[in-house]
């Protein structure tokens, strides 16, 4: 059910200007110029990359159901039109996703946390050997270093971690059931975690819905932890580098650095041996991510207004139409303005 609501909400926000594949790339967090720009244009930050492993098959099945049940129709070119039934339906999804800033890294946070907790649990019950619940050697190594640097042998680390979890998770703005789900995925000495199948039965929701709630809860919790690092030092350490500070793709990041050093698009393109259009994609991505980035070195103030007005007049964000209306501006210039999400 939640999956359907999320899809309908995304389709609604896309204003029927993208194909039925666009939500798929958005949910998987595809790092292409188009998807990244769309996040800014249509204000879809919360859903970006919340399902990095979503399979095309699962996605297509859900879309087929939406079509079958007459929520939408799809044209031959892959564009969609929402029906009245879809528009009537209350599309607000009441889950505090923050996909843009975590991008699947919430799973890394939980992996570390669950291994830290499993270790401390065994320590609390004086059991010093156990099979680690997390198999990834990098996570194991990270947790080992964390425990040693926090002198877990000498002090009562579990008490402090316990208090931090209780206070921070209680503050997280999400219903209790979600917190129960997250805590039931933890494991300890003689206490096993619950599988998705089991949680789905106890909560009477589909496995997929349970996982959505779980992800949203981790996002809400992580927001609180990373906003108040000094109040939750242990959890903040476990959340190290989980929140993406300047969410840029690696390649765009290199372009950003060269641009800051004063190189032009042309120069960067030659230097990096990349097509001009690729560098332009990067600039658009940078403009979207950094509100302080000044786009006026590419487009005049007057032209910005021209674009903003055209978007309003023609009630569209389709590049093709906007370019037709303003042939004096390049696609790149129009995209820059759209990326800023500026309105009249």
């Amino acid at each position: 059910m939640i999956f359907r609501q999320i899809l309908l909400q995304i389709f609604h926000k896309f204003k029927q200007e993208r194909t039925i594949s666009a939500p798929f790339h958005l949910l998987r967090g595809k790092r292409s110029g188009q998807t990244i720009q769309d996040v800014g244009i249509f204000q879809l930050h919360m859903y970006f990359g919340i399902l990095p492993k979503l399979s095309r098959k699962t996605y297509d099945e859900e879309i087929s159901k939406l079509i079958e049940e007459q929520y939408m129709t799809v044209s031959d070119e892959g564009y969609y039109i929402l029906t009245a039934k879809a528009k009537e339906m209350n599309q607000t999804v009441d889950l505090p996703f923050n996909g843009w800033q975590y991008r699947g890294n919430e799973h890394l946070f939980f992996a570390r946390l669950s291994l830290v907790i499993q270790s401390l649990s065994h320590k609390a019950y004086n059991q010093m050997s156990f099979l680690p619940i997390q198999k990834d050697p990098q996570v194991q190594e990270w947790v080992r270093k964390f425990l040693i640097s926090h002198h877990y042998q000498e002090r009562d680390l579990q008490q402090q971690l316990y208090e931090e979890i209780i206070v921070s998770l209680e503050q997280a703005p999400i219903e209790q059931h979600a917190k129960v789900i997250v805590m039931k995925r933890l494991t300890g000495y003689k206490i096993a975690g619950y599988t998705w199948q089991q949680l789905s039965i106890y909560e009477n929701k589909s496995e997929m819905d349970i996982q959505f709630i779980y992800i949203a809860c981790l996002h809400a919790w992580l927001n609180g932890i990373t906003d108040k690092e000094s109040q939750f030092p242990l959890l903040a350490a476990i959340a190290e580098q989980v929140r993406v500070a300047m969410p840029l793709s690696g390649s765009a990041y290199q372009t950003a650095q060269l641009f800051q050093q004063g190189y032009s698009i042309e120069q960067i393109s030659q230097y990096r041996k990349l097509k001009r259009s690729t560098i332009e994609d990067h600039i658009v991505e940078i403009a979207m991510n950094n509100p302080r980035f000044d786009i006026r070195s590419f487009i005049t103030e007057e032209e910005i207004h021209q674009v903003v007005n055209a978007v309003d007049d023609y009630n569209t964000r389709k590049l093709k139409i906007l370019h037709e209306v303003m042939p004096n501006l390049s696609y790149f210039q129009i995209r820059l303005v759209l990326a800023r999400g500026e309105t009249v």
Partner: protein, 479 residues
């Protein structure tokens, strides 16, 4: 150095299990050894104990990555720090570091894919290896159910000046045994072959006309008798649907297959081991590395692809030595499906032609995997043979393998159709003779399930309703 002393001090046992001492003594004497020991009979002790005497690295080649990881974790649990697994789970930097410091380890686990890499080879040549262990050695045989082409190269890799090889397996026919000896270039190996018969596992079978009837039978049986048990089936979706059926009837069950979330798989193992789950519905992915002594029942919802699989799967019951039952269910034409599943991952003529087309176009044939034209396992086998033989020979070879696989299913069908003792057929298949039959031996000899299984005890289904805060407190031992 007395090996009994090490057994006591290192491993905490006062006596050896059958076969262990013989194998260790032969290995210590510098001989090649082939040891067929059933799972759960302490295979790993056969190389771990010598590792403490040699004081030189022991190399363990194993094809099962997760099992390898499990063994390393378990050895670390027993305070062995000088153990490492070299496999594709590592990132390039970790791999480089590990290879560089390889001589520091006492036990080096390695996957066959990793073994053939030049930088690994180079390093291994400089190490004074005391022993080479080939685990799951049946994978070397193309007739085996789990053929790994890379295994064939092990023999060539080490040449003549090599330490002794210890080949370990749980199940192998005499044909496979011969292959192990030949392909590993072993010189007159000492063979220890444990009887494959497990007298405390009683063999039952039931035939049905319709496939659906099997489900009704399973549900009724599980509602009436006591577990813990494992239900093996052939497809992932079946594990889901059967486990849901059981759950709806208040049975503590879970589905298990290779496609499940990594954490879920461990939760299931953990819950199963501490008895909060009674039934696992699984594909053959379940069982490796799960040490649960009190499994009372193994049910095969449909016939397995070959006798070796069947043997391995029923072997997970009754490790505590107490009575257990293995129940084989059959519905008309189940063998067709088993054959289909069996040959499904064999490359066919079309794959071979495609492989040649790629070669002609001077494109790397492994593009076939990316293009979704072949599975990774099939490609591995195909690639190996295409570098060894001509396309026509390979076609012929796969044709032979296909018949062989189908023949394997027919062998299992003998168990289903026979009116002779099932145990006898099973043991003879592995080239051994049955000496004695237990009471309640098998369906053919006469067996009453009621004598072997307890009636199901209705347990209160404990659903934890405590607030999340209490769960965290309990886990962290905070009162």
């Amino acid at each position: 150095m007395e090996i009994e002393k090490i057994l006591k001090e290192r491993f905490g046992f006062s006596t050896f299990r059958p076969g262990q001492k013989e194998v260790i003594e032969q290995v210590m004497g510098g001989n090649d050894v082939i040891a067929l020991l059933p799972t759960g009979m302490g295979k790993s002790l056969c190389y771990q104990l010598p590792g403490y005497i040699f004081n030189q690295p022991v190399l363990i080649i194993s094809p099962l990555l997760s099992l390898m990881q499990d063994q390393v974790d378990q050895m670390k649990q027993f305070k062995e720090k000088r153990v490492v697994a070299l496999n594709s789970f590592m990132n390039p930097e970790q791999k480089k570091q590990t290879i560089y410091h390889l001589e520091q380890y006492r036990f080096i686990f390695i996957s066959p894919e990793m073994l053939i890499q030049p930088q690994v080879q180079q390093k291994l040549n400089t190490l004074p290896l005391a022993l080479i262990v080939v685990d799951e050695a049946h994978c070397i045989s193309q007739w085996g159910f789990d053929f790994r082409p890379d295994y064939l190269k092990i023999g060539e890799l080490f040449g003549n000046h090599r330490p002794p090889i210890l080949a370990l397996s749980a199940t192998a026919t005499s044909k496979v045994l011969k292959d192990i000896e030949v392909y590993l270039n072993m010189s007159q190996p000492y063979k220890y072959i444990h009887s494959v018969d497990r007298p405390n596992i009683h063999l039952a079978k039931y035939s049905f006309l319709e496939k659906e009837d099997k489900l009704d039978w399973i549900l009724r049986h599980v509602l009436e008798t006591e577990g813990p048990g494992i239900i093996y089936t052939q497809s992932r979706s079946k594990t889901e649907s059967i486990s849901e059926l059981l759950l709806q009837h208040g049975i503590a069950a879970a589905s298990y297959h290779g496609g499940k979330d990594q954490l879920d798989r461990q939760f299931i193992q953990q819950q199963y081991i501490d008895d909060s789950l009674d039934w696992i519905v699984a594909t053959n992915a379940f069982g490796m590395g799960v040490h649960k002594p009190n499994v009372r029942q193994i049910i095969h919802e449909t016939i397995p692809g070959n006798m070796a699989n069947y043997m391995q799967e029923i072997g997970r019951a009754g490790r505590d030595g107490k009575d257990a039952v293995a129940i084989l269910l059959y519905a008309e034409r189940d063998e067709e499906f088993a054959k289909f599943v069996g040959i499904d991952d064999l490359p066919n003529d079309h794959h071979i032609e495609l492989y040649e087309t790629y070669q002609l176009r001077q494109e790397p044939p492994n593009q076939m995997i990316q293009n979704g034209e072949i599975s990774e396992t099939s490609f591995r086998v195909l690639q190996y043979w295409m570098t060894q033989k001509s396309a026509n020979e390979v076609k012929e070879l796969f044709q032979t393998m296909k018949y062989e696989k189908m023949h394997e299913v027919d062998e299992v069908m003998k168990l289903v159709k026979t009116e002779c003792c099932m145990r006898e057929i099973l043991v003879q298949y592995f080239g051994q003779e049955l000496e004695t039959k237990p009471t309640n031996c098998c369906t053919s000899c006469g067996l009453t399930l009621e004598n072997l299984l307890l009636p199901r005890q209705q347990k209160d289904h404990v659903v934890e309703e405590t607030p999340w805060q209490k769960r965290v407190a309990k886990i962290l031992g905070i009162s």
